[in-house]
C-alpha cells in the first residue's frame, strides 16, 4: 500500500476530532485566554474524540464490513480489529491525563459518554436522537466549567457559547446518518427522510442563532458566522436533493469547523501588519 493512501486514511480518522478543538478555539478567541490550561484541554478533547472514533470502528467492525466501507483503517486491511481498540485506549489515556493536568475533571464525563456511545452494553447509538442528546449533554456542562475555571462570570456570551456548542454538536451527530443508509440503526430511515431533515435544519438554525448572539462582540466573527451558515445551508440543500455522500459530507463538516482557524489567521495578519 502506498504511504499517501495510508496518510489519507489516518487523516480521515483524525479530521472529525477538530470539532471540539474548534469549539475551544472559539472560546479562547472570545476571551483572549491563550494559556497552557486551554491547550491541555484542547489536546484532551482532541484525543477523546479520536478515542471515540477508533473505539466505534472496533465495535462496528461487522457493520462496516457488510457495507464495504474501504475508507476505514480496519476494513482496508491496514490494522486488525484488536489493534485499533488498543490504539483507541492509548488515546483515551493521553486525553484523561491531559484533563487531569489541566484540572478539568468534567472531561471525564465527556470521555464516559464517548465510550457509552458505542459500548455494546449501553450503545447510545442505537437510540438515534435520544442517544445523541445524551452524548451532547456533555457540551452543556463543559463550557460552564471552562468559563468558571478562568474566572469569567456568567454572562450572556457564556450562555450563547454554551448553547451554540450543544446545538452544533447535536446537528453534527444527527446529519451523520444521512449517508449511512445501510446501518443497523439510522435516524433517516426510522423517522423518514423529511422528518429527519427537519430535525437537522432546526438544530442548524438554533446553533446559528446562538452563534450570531456570540458574534455581537466582534465584527470578525460575523464573517465566520456567515460562512458557517452558508455551508450549513448548502449541506441541508444537498441532503434535501439526496445528493449527499460520505466524502462530501465530511468535507462540508470540516469546512464548517475550519472557519475559526481562518478567522484567526486573518485576525493575526491584521494585528501584525
Amino acid at each position: 500500500m502506498k504511504i499517501s493512501k495510508l496518510l489519507w486514511l489516518i487523516y480521515k480518522r483524525i479530521r472529525v476530532a477538530f470539532v471540539p478543538v474548534s469549539f475551544l478555539f472559539i472560546f479562547s478567541l472570545y476571551t483572549n485566554i491563550f494559556s497552557s490550561h486551554v491547550y491541555f484541554i484542547m489536546l484532551g478533547a482532541f484525543c477523546i474524540e479520536i478515542f471515540g472514533g477508533c473505539y466505534n470502528d472496533y465495535t462496528d467492525y461487522d457493520e462496516d464490513k457488510r457495507n464495504d466501507r474501504t475508507d476505514k483503517l480496519t476494513i482496508s486491511g491496514i490494522m486488525r480489529r484488536k489493534q485499533i481498540r488498543n490504539i483507541s485506549f492509548i488515546f483515551l489515556a493521553i486525553g484523561l491525563i491531559s484533563f487531569v493536568l489541566s484540572n478539568f475533571v468534567i472531561g471525564f464525563y465527556y470521555a464516559f459518554m464517548m465510550w457509552a456511545y458505542s459500548y455494546h452494553g449501553i450503545r447510545l447509538k442505537k437510540y438515534n436522537f435520544k442517544g445523541y442528546f445524551v452524548l451532547a449533554t456533555s457540551w452543556i456542562l463543559i463550557p460552564f466549567y471552562l468559563g468558571f475555571m478562568f474566572g469569567i462570570n456568567f454572562s450572556s456570551i457564556l450562555f450563547f457559547f454554551n448553547f451554540f456548542c450543544f446545538f452544533q454538536y447535536m446537528y453534527l451527530l444527527n446529519q451523520k446518518d444521512s449517508t449511512d443508509a445501510n446501518d443497523d440503526t439510522n435516524l433517516f430511515i426510522e423517522k423518514g427522510w423529511n422528518k429527519a431533515l427537519f430535525i437537522c435544519v432546526t438544530l442548524a438554525i438554533l446553533s446559528s442563532i446562538f452563534f450570531l448572539g456570540m458574534s455581537s462582540l466582534s465584527i470578525f466573527l460575523i464573517m465566520v458566522w456567515a460562512m458557517n451558515l452558508f455551508i450549513k445551508f448548502y449541506h441541508s440543500y444537498k441532503v434535501h436533493r439526496r445528493q449527499i455522500n460520505r466524502e462530501l459530507r465530511s468535507r462540508l463538516v470540516l469546512m464548517e469547523f475550519l472557519n475559526p482557524y481562518i478567522y484567526s489567521v486573518i485576525y493575526f495578519l491584521i494585528a501584525f501588519l
Binding site: 484540572n103 475533571v105 468534567i106 464525563y109 464516559f112 457509552a116 452494553g121 449501553i122 447510545l124 437510540y127 435520544k130 442528546f133 445524551v134 449533554t137 452543556i140 456542562l141 460552564f144 466549567y145 468559563g147 468558571f148 475555571m149 474566572g151 462570570n153 456568567f154 450562555f159
Partner: protein, 261 residues
C-alpha cells in the same frame, strides 16, 4: 381533605424533592453568608425538583400501577398539567428574585430533568446513574447565586455530582428484585449483585479520599457516615444504606448552618 393533601404530597414526591433542594442549599451555604435568601433558595429549588418529579409521575403512570399497585388520583385528570405549570412558575419566580443567573441554571436543570423522563433514559445502563448525578450540577450552580467561581467550588460541584451518582447506584441495589422482574438494565442486574456491591465499596472509599483532598473541616459529617453506609451494604441492608446517605446530607446542612453562624 387530608386525603387530598396526602395525594398532593405523594404527587410532588415531597421528601425526594426536599432532599434534591438540599443540594442547592448546600451550594448556597458553601459560598454565601447566611441570611433571608436561604429560604428563597430552598423554595425555588424545591419547586424546580417538584416539576421534574411530578412530570416523572405522569410518564411512569403505567409502570407505577404495576409495581406499587396503586395510582395517584391526580395523575388521572388534566389538573396535573396545571399543577406542573404552577410549580414551574413558582420556581422561576423564586429564582428570579435571587438572580437571573440562578434562574437560567434552574431552567437548564428543569429541561434536563424533563427530557430524562420524556426520552425514558432510565432504561439505559449506567447512563441513568451518571445522567442523574451530573444533571444535578446546574441545580448546584443555581444555589451559588452570583458568587464568582473558583477551583474549590468547581471541585465541590463535581464531588456532589459523583455523590449522587453513587447514591443512585445504592438505590439500584435497593430495587434489585423489582428491576430484575421487569427486565430493567441497572448495574446490579447487568454486572451481578455482588459486583455492584464491590463497585459501591470502591466508589464510596474513593469519595472519602476526595473529601480529604477537598476540605475535611467543612465536609466532616459525610466522612463519618461513609463507613456506616459501607457496613449496611455489606450486611445486605441497602434500604438503610440509602437512608444513612440521605441523613448524612441533612446533618451536613445543619452542620454548615452552625458553621456559618
Amino acid at each position: 381533605m387530608i386525603e387530598n393533601i396526602k395525594n398532593m404530597l405523594s404527587f410532588m414526591r415531597f421528601t425526594v424533592s426536599m432532599s434534591g433542594s438540599f443540594i442547592a442549599v448546600l451550594a448556597y451555604l458553601l459560598t454565601n453568608q447566611l441570611d433571608f435568601r436561604f429560604f428563597i433558595v430552598m423554595l425555588g429549588s424545591f419547586f424546580a425538583c417538584t416539576v421534574i418529579y411530578s412530570y416523572n409521575n405522569l410518564t411512569d403512570k403505567k409502570e407505577d400501577s404495576i409495581n406499587r399497585k396503586q395510582t395517584n388520583t391526580i395523575t388521572k385528570n388534566n389538573f396535573s398539567h396545571f399543577l406542573i405549570f404552577l410549580f414551574l412558575f413558582l420556581s422561576l419566580i423564586f429564582q428570579y428574585i435571587l438572580s437571573t443567573r440562578a434562574m437560567i441554571f434552574s431552567i437548564i436543570f428543569i429541561a434536563l430533568g424533563i427530557l430524562y423522563s420524556f426520552f425514558r433514559l432510565k432504561k439505559y445502563l449506567l447512563i441513568k446513574n451518571i445522567y442523574t448525578g451530573f444533571g444535578m450540577i446546574p441545580m448546584f450552580l443555581s444555589g451559588t447565586i452570583n458568587q464568582p467561581f473558583d477551583q474549590l467550588l468547581i471541585n465541590y460541584s463535581l464531588f456532589f455530582a459523583i455523590f449522587i451518582t453513587v447514591g443512585s447506584i445504592v438505590s439500584d441495589l435497593r430495587d434489585y428484585k423489582g428491576d430484575k422482574a421487569s427486565n430493567f438494565n441497572t448495574i446490579p442486574v447487568y454486572f451481578g449483585y455482588d459486583n455492584a456491591k464491590k463497585i459501591t465499596y470502591s466508589s464510596i472509599s474513593a469519595l472519602s479520599l476526595v473529601i480529604l483532598y477537598l476540605n475535611i473541616l467543612k465536609l466532616l459529617p459525610l466522612i463519618i457516615f461513609m463507613p456506616l453506609t459501607i457496613y449496611f451494604i455489606y450486611t445486605d441492608k441497602p434500604k438503610r444504606a440509602h437512608l444513612s446517605g440521605g441523613i448524612s446530607i441533612i446533618i451536613l446542612l445543619v452542620y454548615l448552618i452552625i458553621f456559618s453562624l
